[in-house]
């Protein structure tokens, strides 16, 4: 094909063939990139093991959905769509950018398979792709510079603002788009002027617009533009490649892998060390994460992958109430520490020795502030994990004795009495004394009787005066639905959901063993609980137990079968809203059953809060979190109660005793007594049972 302009592969500047630059730039660029990537890989190799090569089909599915499909991006509508535009553009243009590098050496190079129709279609597409990316960069820059969404802000204690880096990269991307289009447009414009065959440019695309503007430009000028645009593109391309692993744009490279290796199960907690069985835990020298390399390689990959978008912290209840925790900065501080300890400049720098993380980049209160509600992980577009990191850091702190006094008391009581208040074991079944006469519950803890269904009550429902009402309501529902119900009585210990998540693994193991023995001895065929924390622990942390069901699932199932019939709510004049407990919703995907149960009450008026289902907002946390005294500006529960009021509700229905504690307290603190009430699902159902 004849062209009016000389290609970069054939051009000379003062007797120097430009092909020299076409060769040097990629060689140097790839060399530097390889060097940086090798150093970035070093900490991953030194990190703790992680088990991420299982269930490959599931992992590929995640890649297709979250990475290629950008599934979570539109949860933030505008930013998400802009990101999808840039992402799709990058995918399309990656082929063009690679061919361009070779075109600098061999003018007529065509990527294998792109010679015929596919090539024509591709060329048409990539013109629009570049245009879309440039427009998206414009919108993104406007958001960064003018709109400044709050979630991008960097609080003073976490260092300097990150806007400059973001805008600089948008500039790089724009430069790539414009130079690529200019390179092509100048050639087409010159060919058109000389009456030669010209490449077809997609109408109204960036290249097409530039070509139209250049139609009357002298050919000598076009030649200069052609060559300069090419080398600007080439330089920017390799600069960008080497710049990616230096900051938050590392995600461009790592996100694919991060999504592939992301956690598959929810509700569970990683083992102390992958490959170490529970009965070998005593032999471990050290527990948990104390220094950087104690994290698993996937957790370090998480740090690399964080794009600093702030969605995690925007959804973090601890962050919302002013606790000293922002998940985003768990990642950013972790990443910056890797960069500092594994320096790439000057060449040959030694790796630095790792210090204790607590007291250097993380603070004790920061790590205790997390309620493990899981909102951050649910939101992260590329599957960065936080709960396991927090738990691992807590395991390290527990091992070093760094536990706040407010938590030491309940932990000691759990060790001695199996409940965090240190109440007597023999009083664990006392709540059954006030059951209605027709309701029978067998105490299996005495060892003689048996029952088909085991109601696992757990500590708060057994001992707290108010929460005992939930126990009685649950037992009533079970009994009146015809279930043969038993409880473990004094043989039941705390399920340990929070003991484990607060890093006291060995105490959790003790609780697990005692409960497992008691449950297996009872001979029960199924377990039912009204406490989502117990539900989660029994279902996801224990093994070898009969199937576990939450009372909301039991109700939904029995309403459907007709075993439970409910009277209507007509005329009570109340507006109900359902608050999704974290350990029922996000961690176990039980969203529908409690709503089905509520909607089975004919005429009950129900509204949804803005934050519901997988975006539910934590009430303040359960288990040991009730004892922790955090630094905070307000209570999570108060924010939640205000959200219910905003939705127009006057009754908050929960399905978790901890949610109920926190909501009832929050109603008082928020001064909404008399205007707002909180009730457990089981209590409401009992009121309506025929």
């Amino acid at each position: 094909m004849e062209n009016a302009l000389i290609a970069p592969a054939e051009y000379f500047i003062f007797f120097i063939p430009t092909i020299v630059f076409s060769l040097l730039i990629p060689v140097i660029g790839v060399a530097i990139f390889t060097y940086i990537m090798a150093l970035r890989t070093a900490p991953l190799i030194k990190a703790a093991p992680d088990n991420r090569f299982d269930r490959i089909p599931q992992r590929i599915y995640h890649v297709l959905k979250l990475w290629l499909g950008q599934y979570r991006q539109p949860r933030y509508r505008l930013a998400g769509v802009v990101h999808m535009m840039i992402f799709a553009g990058f995918l399309i243009l990656s082929i063009r950018s690679c061919s361009l590098v070779i075109i600098g050496i061999s003018e007529n190079f065509v990527m294998l398979g792109f010679g015929g129709l596919l090539g024509d279609v591709y060329n048409f597409l990539k013109d629009y792709a570049a245009t879309v990316v440039l427009v998206a960069c414009g919108i993104a820059a406007y958001r960064r510079i003018v709109v400044k969404p709050a979630r991008y802000a960097v609080p003073a204690k976490y260092g300097k603002d990150h806007t400059a880096e973001a805008v600089f990269v948008l500039g790089l991307i724009s430069t790539l788009m414009i130079s690529e289009s200019l390179f092509e447009a100048s050639s087409v414009a010159a060919n058109v002027q000389n009456g030669l065959h010209a490449e077809f440019l997609a109408p109204a695309s960036l290249a097409w617009l530039l070509k139209s503007a250049l139609l009357s430009t002298p050919v000598e000028t076009l030649q200069a533009v052609h060559i300069v645009a090419y080398y600007i593109h080439d330089l920017t391309f390799f600069f960008f490649l080497c710049f990616l692993p230096l900051g938050k744009h590392f995600h461009v490279i790592t996100s694919l892998f991060n999504v592939f290796f992301m956690r598959i199960d929810r509700g569970n907690v990683k083992p102390v060390v992958y490959g170490i069985q529970d009965d070998q835990l005593d032999d471990l020298e050290s527990f948990g994460v104390k220094k950087l390399e104690d994290f698993t390689w996937k957790h370090l990959l998480d740090f690399y992958s964080c794009a600093d978008c702030g969605r995690c912290s925007d959804n973090c209840p601890a962050n919302a109430v002013g606790r000293p925790l922002s998940p985003r900065f768990i990642s950013i501080k972790g990443r910056d520490l890797i960069f500092k300890n594994y320096p790439i400049y000057p060449y040959g720098s030694r790796f630095k020795k790792s210090d204790a993380l607590i007291g250097s980049i993380y603070e004790e209160d920061e790590i205790w502030s997390c309620t493990t509600c899981g909102a951050c992980e649910q939101e992260c577009p590329i599957g960065i994990e936080y709960i396991d990191k927090i738990v691992d850091l807590r395991r390290g702190m527990v091992d070093e004795g760094m536990v706040p006094q407010s938590l030491q008391k309940p932990l000691r009581a759990l060790e001695k009495r199996g409940n965090p208040w240190g109440k007597m074991e023999k009083k664990r079944a006392d709540w059954t004394k006030d059951l209605p006469e027709d309701v029978t519950v067998t105490d299996l803890g005495k060892g003689k009787d048996s029952a088909e269904s085991l109601y696992f009550v757990d500590s708060i429902t057994s001992y707290d005066d108010r929460m005992q009402e939930i126990g009685r309501a649950t037992a009533t529902i079970l009994s009146r639905s015809g279930a043969d119900v038993g409880i473990l009585g004094k043989r039941e210990k705390d399920s340990g959901n929070e003991i484990r998540r607060f890093g006291e693994e060995m105490l959790f193991q003790t609780m697990k063993e005692m409960n497992t023995d008691a449950i297996v001895d009872s001979g029960a065929k199924q377990i039912i609980t009204a406490d989502p924390h117990a539900y989660n622990a029994l279902k996801n942390d224990y093994s070898g137990l009969p199937p576990v069901e939450h009372i909301s699932q039991f109700i939904a199932r029995n309403v459907k079968s007709g075993a439970i019939r409910l009277t209507g709510a007509a005329g009570d004049g109340k507006v109900y809203t359902y608050h999704d407990p974290c350990y029922l919703g996000r961690h176990n995907d039980v969203y529908e059953d409690p709503r089905t149960a509520l909607d089975a009450i004919d005429g009950l008026k129900r509204v949804e809060m803005k934050r519901c289902r997988d975006r539910s907002f934590c009430c303040g946390g359960g288990g040991l979190m009730l004892f922790y005294e955090p630094e905070e500006e307000q209570r999570m529960g108060v924010l939640r109660v205000e959200m219910a009021a905003e939705a127009g509700a006057d009754v908050i229905v929960t399905a978790c005793p901890f949610c109920l504690v926190n909501m009832e307290d929050a109603i008082k603190v928020a001064g909404l007594e008399g205007k707002m009430e909180a009730i457990d699902l089981s209590e409401l159902i009992v009121q309506h049972m025929q």
Partner: protein
């Protein structure tokens, strides 16, 4: 610095419902759980911190029986170097003076610069620390809430009634009784205790200590043990929180406390 910390195993008041037994000679001990006396934990933490700063070693000692080993292990899991159990059938029923005498004998078997005890025990009379100092003829400071280590001497802070603070200089060797709040004792979990489970804890009886049973026997004899009868002055309000508040306001108004 060589530090000895005297600790005691007590029924934990937070995790027990204390009831007096039928004969009125003691509390009902069947269903009790025990732990280290809370004050002693602070003393041990302080000793460990001093050792970590200036070097030396920390030893914990208790007078008790086989079961008292549990509290020594817990303190050793905190980071204490050595444990010492003073146990003998002859020690049973010893009063404060008897215990102090046993501890004195233990102190004299070693070479300690500093001896710490808790300010008092949950089930005790806050007398052992002072008696021990007197028997050893060592200087003594009670209710200590701050310790700064100097050369051969210490600067110790004491809490004074009304929240005032007093600072004193005290020569070593000396005895200090430690107040809660002087530090934040570290956490010890099951894992920590298992780690020190196999460490040997020397056990000294009357003969090893060179004390005679007669010297230990209680000079103070407990006559009775009972829950005092509710006085007439106390008026227990009953009902829900709201009802109690309403009754209280009514009472205050009726007696002129509220106008």
């Amino acid at each position: 610095m060589e530090i000895l910390v005297c600790v005691k195993r007590v029924p934990d008041s937070a995790e027990n419902e204390i009831e007096v037994n039928g004969e009125g000679s003691d509390i009902e001990r069947d269903d009790l759980v025990y732990s280290v006396n809370e004050w002693d934990n602070y003393a041990v933490e302080e000793a460990i911190q001093i050792r970590d700063n200036v070097g030396g070693s920390v030893t914990v000692v208790t007078v008790g029986d086989d079961e008292s080993e549990e509290v020594l292990r817990r303190e050793m899991a905190m980071g204490v170097d050595k444990g010492l159990l003073l146990a003998d059938d002859a020690f049973e029923g010893a009063d404060g003076k008897g215990i102090a005498g046993l501890l004195k004998a233990a102190v004299e078997k070693g070479k300690y610069d500093l001896i710490l005890s808790g300010a008092q025990a949950d089930d005790g009379a806050a007398q052992v620390g002072g008696m021990l100092a007197a028997m050893l003829d060592y200087p003594y400071a009670s209710l200590v809430n701050k310790i700064e280590v100097g050369d051969g001497k210490l600067t110790v802070g004491r809490e004074i009634e009304g929240g005032d603070q007093e600072m004193n200089e005290i020569a070593m060797p000396c005895v200090l009784s430690i107040q809660t709040g002087i530090n934040e004792p570290r956490y010890v979990g099951i894992r920590g205790i298992r780690k020190v489970a196999s460490l040997e804890i020397p056990r000294l009886g009357a003969a090893d200590l060179g004390v005679e049973a007669a010297a230990i026997g209680a000079k103070v004899k407990r006559l009775d043990y009972f829950v005092p009868e509710m006085g007439d002055g106390a008026d227990m309000l009953e009902g829900s929180t709201e009802e109690i508040i309403a009754k209280l306001i009514e009472l205050l108004k009726a007696n002129g406390g509220l106008k």
